[in-house]
Symmetry: C2
Subunit: 335 residues, 2 copies
């Protein structure tokens, strides 16, 4: 009989996350109802939003309740199907949660869907650049910021999965792209590996001067993942009528930091600031995945992955996003 390890949220972390915030329990795999599939988790997608879901604050979905399996997107294999169109052995993604087995059905945010089979694209890409992260980047850059030829674009957390995709999409659309990341190695990598026009280390003493030098005529688009002082430095570089695609504010998710920033700059510069989220991306999902997988297969964009092994490593893996120790898509391999 298979065992279903589950990480149940036991207490809400104040700052860093550890296994101590969870009860690790073992249960049988869940029963499968009509219209559901039983999925064995292979990979978990580790994203800043996981950290937000642990907090009891207003947000775009209900927080994970105490005692509930930690919510997470994941990729797995169908073990048993009671759902038309799905068969044993199919690879699927959906809200697996931090557990070995989940009974899933279509619908809802990141609802159950089959992983496409495309030559040269491994399944886990559909959790990253051809899936939620790439679609988020596509939505922010194309649908929200409406990036175009000649725009100067700044991307924060640019070495992450969403940021690196966002910058590459902007370049494909004819923009000049400046990326911001933590540390000289990552900043250099933005240029050498992801083809950005410039990469800047926000930890450098002269960060603001470097940013100014990289945007001599200001910037027209900010793809914002971080918030805090980095966002303020970027906002100072924006031209009148610039657009901010507000994707995340990771600097506040782990406790500390303030989300209070100047609103009058939106007036003085007539900015358009738009918060957006994957849960609203249903209408553009198919087109975005088509674009992204086409670009990836053609070698026009690239990605990287950081893979951590073991379900019980998920809490520590999440910290990597805040320490900046991952590059590209962060995954936990469960089986």
């Amino acid at each position: 009989m298979s065992i279903n390890r589950q990480l149940l949220l036991a207490r809400r972390p104040e700052n860093r996350v550890s296994i101590d915030h969870f009860d690790v329990v073992e249960a049988p795999p869940p029963p499968v109802e009509d219209g559901e599939v039983l999925v064995r988790t292979r990979f978990l997608s580790v994203d800043p939003t996981n950290r937000v879901w642990m907090k009891d604050v207003p947000q775009y979905m209900p927080p994970v309740a105490i005692g509930e399996v930690m919510r997470s997107g994941g990729l797995g294999e169908v073990i048993e199907s009671r759902l038309d169109g799905f068969a044993r052995g199919d690879l699927v993604f959906g809200m697996t949660g931090w557990q070995d087995y989940a009974a899933l059905k279509p619908g809802g945010a990141l609802g159950l869907a089959k992983v496409p089979t495309l030559p040269g694209i491994t399944p886990e890409k559909f959790l990253g650049i051809c899936g939620p992260n790439g679609v988020t980047a596509w939505a922010g850059m194309i649908d929200v910021a409406r990036v175009g030829e000649g725009d100067v674009v700044i991307v924060t957390a640019a070495a992450g999965s969403v940021g690196s995709a966002a910058g590459q999409i902007a370049r494909l659309k004819g923009a000049r792209v400046v990326g911001i990341a933590g540390g000289p190695a990552k900043a250099a990598k933005l240029v050498s590996d992801f083809g950005f026009d410039a990469g800047i280390d926000y930890r450098a003493d002269d960060f603001a001067d470097q940013l100014k030098a990289a945007t001599p005529r200001g910037a027209d688009v900010l793809f914002e993942n971080v918030g805090g002082a980095i966002m303020e430095a970027c906002t100072a570089r924006l031209n009148p009528r610039a657009r901010i695609a507000l994707c995340g504010m990771i600097s506040i998710y782990n406790g500390g930091g303030s989300a209070r920033h100047d609103w009058s700059v939106m007036l003085a510069k007539r900015l358009r600031v738009e918060g957006f989220n994957l849960i609203d991306c249903g209408p553009i999902w198919a087109q975005a995945v088509r674009d992204l997988s086409g670009w990836l297969a053609a070698g026009q964009i690239r990605d990287e992955e950081t893979i951590v092994d073991g379900l019980e490593q998920a809490p520590e893996a999440l910290n990597m996003l805040f320490d900046g120790t991952n590059v590209g898509k962060l995954l936990v391999r469960v089986s």
Copy 2:
């Protein structure tokens, strides 16, 4: 020989404005160059933006320099014309400034233009509801917020010239409109005179509760003129994917008050916040004036005016906007 009284900015006010912040000088009317008209000022438009122009802070136009005539939109009569298409006796508007006579030419923000002659519409309406204020309201409600049938709309500073027009435009487009103003008389007036669905006094002890009761299913659009605690109370009522047409933050223009507000609410609710300004309204100006003057002539919208007599009263008149003692368009009659 005519005398041109001029109010030159002598020192920058910290809080309230008075005549002591200006040097009142008398000069001859300015010479008229080829391509210019000499205009005798009849009415000055008094707007929150005058107060911003007095401050040496980053803004959408350069601040008025010390020693310079105070900048202001105004309406006047052509005394002498060296510009094709303009003749002595024509009524025009443009950037007259706080003075009796100005030499004006076309172009720039609120450039020289003839006042239309329309039956039943007095010239000064084209400084208010059929001019800059109405166009601002039109731009924010139609172009920025894209208000539509069934939207719930909140308007702050709703008894002012821009706010009362914005609310009426939203109602014409099929929205339910809740206006916020200072004091019970103005709040009642929003409903009785301007046809709003509800009017709320922000000075009431139970303001937040009243706002909640007036928006039982939340709100989809906020037309924001005020900033500060009033804006935060309104933002708390917004539904996911609501739009904020950010027109002004008058609560900070007179010194005091903070412009720092939560940005994470834009993420949590996926808000679109767009700062906008009349200086960008060239492309929609003609259509907006056509709509507004048509609605006014047909009795579908109405406005009010508060008129203060005397050029030298302009500084004190400006304070009325911050004290909330005007209703509708505030004008200074110069001649």
